[in-house]
């Protein structure tokens, strides 16, 4: 496998009984790429993402994440990825530094590294004053920024972001994306789902899932050209209109 390919799937399929949630999807994601994973509610995004994170076994097909097989080497995969979602990311009843400490500990980082990197992180986020604040009392946007920083704290090869910016104010949302750019620039691969169509534009490449299949995969500008659309919103609508199934 090419060293620059960090995610690779071939005919990846997941069935629940007679229902095919993910239907033979094949794609590759390169190192340092921001890969947008879009689709309507119920198109199969969550199921696909769970398989890639090693949380769910594929029914058939193969997939490799960070060079490890998703069906057999889940534990290795978990060491090499970060994960953040809108719903769950940090413990609200722990302080900022306690959350950082906890996640770093889970990934087996050394105490000295943790201490040094915690300072760096707080500095960069301008959070030094908030070190002892309970996460619950931070504004949502701050929380999400912190959660993202924590999810890449152990320098994973790939970070999976599941609707990371839902409900965040526009200014913070932009700062959040700048952080994503920066992480990608450092070589971390970003795999992200979102319902904000302008955010799809930030991605290097975007895949569109419809009824469990990937119906389109290209850069935003190529997609717009291909579908003769002026915005990603329009591309999305043209594609999703073909959807037949409901959840």
């Amino acid at each position: 496998m090419n060293n620059d390919i960090v995610i690779q799937t071939k005919d990846l399929t997941k069935k629940f009984g007679s229902f095919t949630a993910v239907d033979h999807i094949s794609f590759e994601v390169r190192r340092g790429e921001i890969f947008g994973f879009l689709g309507a509610n119920g198109a199969g995004k969550t199921t696909a993402m769970r398989m890639l994170c090693g949380l769910s076994r594929p029914t058939s097909g193969m997939g490799q994440v960070a060079g490890f097989d998703i069906a057999r080497q889940q534990e290795k995969i978990k060491q090499n990825i970060g994960y953040m979602s809108q719903k769950f990311s940090l413990y609200g009843d722990l302080k900022v530094w306690e959350n950082i400490r906890l996640y770093a500990g889970i990934y087996g980082m050394k105490d000295a590294d943790i201490a040094r990197k915690t300072e760096e992180l707080l500095e960069r986020l301008d959070f030094t004053k908030e070190r002892d604040t309970l996460v619950d009392s931070l504004p949502l946007g701050w929380k999400q920024k912190l959660a993202f920083s924590v999810s890449i704290f152990h320098e994973p090869k790939i970070v999976f972001l599941d609707e990371p910016t839902g409900g965040v104010d526009p200014t913070t949302r932009r700062q959040f994306w700048e952080m994503i750019y920066e992480a990608a620039n450092r070589g971390i691969t970003i795999f992200v789902t979102t319902h904000y169509m302008d955010e799809a534009e930030y991605c290097h490449r975007v895949s569109m899932m419809v009824d469990g299949r990937i119906d389109a995969l290209d850069s935003p500008s190529n997609l717009k050209q291909q579908f003769n659309a002026s915005s990603m919103d329009e591309v999305f609508r043209k594609l999703a209109r073909k959807a037949e199934r409901m959840e």
Partner: protein
């Protein structure tokens, strides 16, 4: 008579958390009024006060001329309300949910079918399905039907499209526009700023205060700085290089472009273009653009 009149509402929770400070606005009959802002700005608190579920510390609110404190019984008969995390009864079927809410409001599905027909038609094939097994978009449509079935004169929708995919969202808004034509006043909140232009008037809310209330196009017109969009091959590097350029006030990512504002007068986009090309950027395009609601929100939020 105005359908909704909110006057100088203040609300603090126990522990001194200030949710709303001095909110005032009004909405005409048949108006689609949007309250736009991020989570935690106070939208839900405002909706609960208007829906007679919370008492304000200060200020008054009248729905159809009725006071939310004194006449709450009467108001409850005539408004429709869809709370943010509203999720219907998952273990009842589509039909049972709608039938239940119809009865609670002392009406029947048949009586007001015409109101929900457009929406319910799409749900009818699944009417024996449990609500818990519907997709997010379908659930929202059913919830809207349930809030509409008693022919409310005012409809309060708290973040009805959050977490719903863009296609379902668009359909949902089209439905709201049709309802509005039937004379129903709709107060709706959303964190998706691209939905703002679908409202007649909007209020931008931040930290419990309205920053601006106006028609979307007027809010855009009030954007007081020249705004440019820039695009290139290496967007990340471009962001930093544009920020370094003298005369660029504020630069941020915005979809496929970066938007930046400039200090008034004396800005020459060709000079910037030349400098960027000199720094090795290729395929750079700079153009003057009209602001969108997000640009306006950020501009207002800065002050």
């Amino acid at each position: 008579m105005k359908a909704v009149v909110v006057d100088n509402i203040h609300k603090s929770y126990e522990g001194g958390i200030r949710a709303l400070s001095g909110i005032s606005f009004d909405a005409d009959r048949g108006e689609l009024f949007g309250i736009i802002g991020p989570d935690g700005a106070g939208k839900t608190t405002l909706f609960r006060i208007m829906a007679t579920l919370l008492l304000a510390n200060e200020g008054t609110c009248r729905i159809d001329g009725l006071d939310v404190v004194d006449d709450y019984r009467e108001i409850r008969k005539r408004v429709g309300y869809m709370p943010g995390r509203f999720s219907l009864y998952q273990d009842l079927t589509v039909e049972e949910n709608l039938g239940f809410f119809a009865s609670v409001f002392r009406t029947t599905i048949a009586e007001n079918y015409h109101l929900v027909e457009d929406i319910y038609k799409q749900l009818e094939p699944f009417k024996r399905r449990r609500a818990g097994k519907l997709s997010g978009g379908m659930k929202q449509k059913l919830a809207l039907c349930c809030a509409l079935i008693h022919k409310p004169s005012v409809l309060f929708l708290d973040e009805p499209t959050t977490g719903v995919d863009p296609v379902s969202r668009k359909e949902f808004w089209e439905m709201l526009n049709r309802l509005q034509k039937q004379g129903i006043t709709i107060i709706v909140s959303t964190p998706y700023m691209d939905e703002a232009k679908l409202c007649d008037r909007i209020a931008l809310i931040k930290n419990g205060q309205f920053m601006s209330i106006n028609r979307p196009m007027d809010i855009i017109r009030q954007f007081d700085l020249p705004l440019y969009a820039v695009k290139g091959d290496d967007m990340f590097r471009l962001l930093h290089d544009v920020r370094e350029y003298k005369g660029v006030d504020h630069c941020y990512v915005s979809g496929e472009f970066h938007h930046f504002t400039v200090a008034d007068g004396g800005f020459d986009s060709s000079a910037l273009l030349a400098q960027l090309q000199q720094k090795g950027h290729s395929a750079v395009r700079i153009e003057r653009v009209e602001a969108n609601i997000e640009d306006c929100y950020m501009r207002l939020a800065k002050d």
